[in-house]
Each structure stands twice: as C-alpha cells, then as structure tokens.
Symmetry: C2
Subunit: 246 residues, 2 copies
Amino acid sequence: MAHHFFLSTVAAPGEMVLLEGENAHHAVRVLRLRRGENITLADSGGRGYRARIASVNGDRVAVEVTEPLASTEPSLRVTLLQGWPKGDKLDLIIEKCTELGVARISVLTTERAVPRPDPAAAARRRERWQQKALAAARQSGRHRIPEVSGPLGLLEALAGLAPGSLLLVPWEEERSLGLRDVLARLPAVTEVTLLVGPEGGLSPAEIELIRNYGGRPVTLGPRILRTETAGLACLAAVMYALGDLG
Amino acid sequence: MAHHFFLSTVAAPGEMVLLEGENAHHAVRVLRLRRGENITLADSGGRGYRARIASVNGDRVAVEVTEPLASTEPSLRVTLLQGWPKGDKLDLIIEKCTELGVARISVLTTERAVPRPDPAAAARRRERWQQKALAAARQSGRHRIPEVSGPLGLLEALAGLAPGSLLLVPWEEERSLGLRDVLARLPAVTEVTLLVGPEGGLSPAEIELIRNYGGRPVTLGPRILRTETAGLACLAAVMYALGDLG
C-alpha cells in the first residue's frame, strides 16, 4: 500500500499540490519518501487520488496528482456517541471505529462515566483523540478523517441529533429487542447514531431520556460486552447490514 | 452482574460444589466474596447456573448451585485461525473475540508472521493466551472458555479443518467477492472458520493453498483493516448474520 496523506485543500488530477507542515514532516523525516515515489491523497472534499512525489526541497514536498481513486468512504454515515471510558480505551475505540468507517465520534460525560477533567485538560484530550483519528484514517486509507468532539453532556448530544435519525443504543438490560430486529424492519437509512454507555452503563433515567429522543435500546446478544467492544461490534454489524463492510 | 466462575466438573441445581485452587483464590483473595453472595457458574459441560456461596473456609469455598441459566454460547461455532501478529496484539484479539463468542482460536506461523519463538517460549505464550481467554470468558459471562492453541503451521491448520466446513479468509487483495455475498448464498451452517493473516498479509502461495482447501477469500470493504481489526470485524459480522449477536 502506498502511503496516504490528507490535504487541507481541494485537488484534481493533473495538478501539483504541496505537502507542508506535519504532512511534509511525516513524508520526509518519518517515511523518507523520495522523488518519483507513489503516494495516495485525500483532499478536503473527501476525494481520493493517486499521486507521485515530484520534488522534495527541505520540508516542502511537491506532489503531482495523477488519477482519482474509488471512494473508501461508506455511503452510510455512522456517528458514535461514546460514554467516556476509563484509561486509554478511547484510543482503541477511535482507532478501530475509524478503520471500520465511522463518520463522527463524540465523547459523552454520562452519569456513570468516571473521567471528569477540567476544560483545559479536556481540550488537550480532544486534540489527542483527533490525532488518533488522523493516524487511523491514514493507515486505513480513508478519504475523510472522522471528527472527534466532546466531552459533551448526554442531553446536548441528543438535542444535536438530526430529527428522525436512527439512534441505536446497545444496552445490557434490553433482553428482547435485538439489533437485527431493528435493522431488518428499517426503511433505507443513510444516517445511524450508536450510543454506547461507559463501563458502568447508562442509568435508567438516561435510558428514559434517550427513549424520549427516539432512541432504540437493543441487545447485542447474551454475552456481556465491554464498552469498547460494544461500539465496534455494533459498528461492524451495522456496516455489514447497511454499509460497505463486505 | 454476579461474578462468574468456571468449574472443572459437572454441576446440577441443588448440588454443592467447591471452588478450589485459582477459583478459590480469585473468590476469596481478589473479590473477597462472603457467605450468602450470589455468583454464576459454568460447569465442564458448558452449562451455566446461578449459585450462592454457602461457606468460606480458608481457600475452600462451598457453593450451592441454585438454578440453570439460559445459555450464553452461540449455536454457531466459529474458529479463528490468526496469523501471529506482532507485540501484544494477540491479547486484544483473544479478549475481544472471546467476548464476541469465538469457540476456538489457533495462532498460525505463516510466511510473513514475525514472531518465531522457540518451543519453550511458545508454550509459555500459549499458557498466557489461555489465561487471557479465561479472564475474558469470565468477564463476559460465557459458559465455555475458548480453547487457544498453536503456534501451528498453515498446512497443519488447514489439514485439521472439518471437511466441508466454511472457511472465510478476509484478504486485502480480494476486490469483488464480499463477505455478504458468501454469507447470503449459504445453506444453514453451524461451523465457520475465519483465517486472518498477520500484519504482512498472506502470500500468494498461501492463498493458493487455502483455496485448495476450499477457503474463500473475501473483501471486508474498501478500507484497510489492521490484522487485529479484520478478525473481530469479521467475527462480529458473522455472529450478526448467522449467530446470536443481536
């Protein structure tokens, strides 16, 4: 696989574009790419291209865009609302869900979520999360970098949902309604939101609130999934059922 | 959720059973469980029960088996043949695939797999892998502990497959045949084997060999999945399509 870069501008076949800043650093210092090597690009519009390195001058890399690539983005837009888990589990969640095609991730401070950093620390975390998403998007050859936002409150997240969008909530206390039951009865959807509680789960009051916003608690089967597993298993299943996984 | 233990013997409601050795240590020293507390058990036959601690004497815990539990085991038996990845990625794979209901995991030494420890080191690793499976099986409330075996060679693994069993091989060079295409055209199956290459993928010669054993290379879509993501995404999709995930 060719190395993959994200541009902050639009591009088109036949054009020359520049890799600057972190992109140039990554190309020149980390990957030691040279003139003539093939790479792939995704532009700010989410379009992918093959490209070739035309020249390397210090930390400015000129690249010739050669031809468009088939999109690696799913037409299904999935948002993950993830209750803030302990430790560095979010890194794993962001990496895996980016590979699996998530469009957006928002981190939620729910009742039972443990981390509660002050706003400055939260901003630093968010920057780190976005970097994780960039690295995973590069590695998996995505044409868009998932946007990572938060931490935000549950009510704020629910109020921000597009009206009528499908909101699936894997919930360990839901015994009868399965993910498959909900997906099988769906009309065609292009937007899905998955809401996953933190380690301690979602409280009854939170589930009530989620239901009021049209959320559908579903079971993912009889085994207990950790919070980081629930989101990625649900995302894989949704991408399999409605998206482009296989 | 009640704490969960695996017995090495069979049990039945109304019986008293003993937690000994590591189980007793875990119950008494780690979890500090006391008389009267409720736990769950899985016996050596893969049956689950509710149970109650009847007495704690030093490191012997007597437990009263009260009633049977609905099975948490999928009727679909999935085996994962995993090309040996670098570092401690296998720990993640074993943990997540155990949560998702895998029946067996075998670690393969393929052409491009990097780790090549000597037999003594391999035996220590296998013990560690089996411990990971036990911990994840406990945490997710499974009634059977997935057996982790290997490292073994690809040919040995293929020769050990049940004749006619479905062998799915996520492969980044397969462009047209999707996982969904294969699963949609299946008659009812009860046994699936997933074969996932290590970081460097499977070689053309290995794919040829796999095809000779009836293996079906499939694409998991246009994004590049890391080796540890491919297995769990494929397992989640297969459990969604044919098993009990939702």
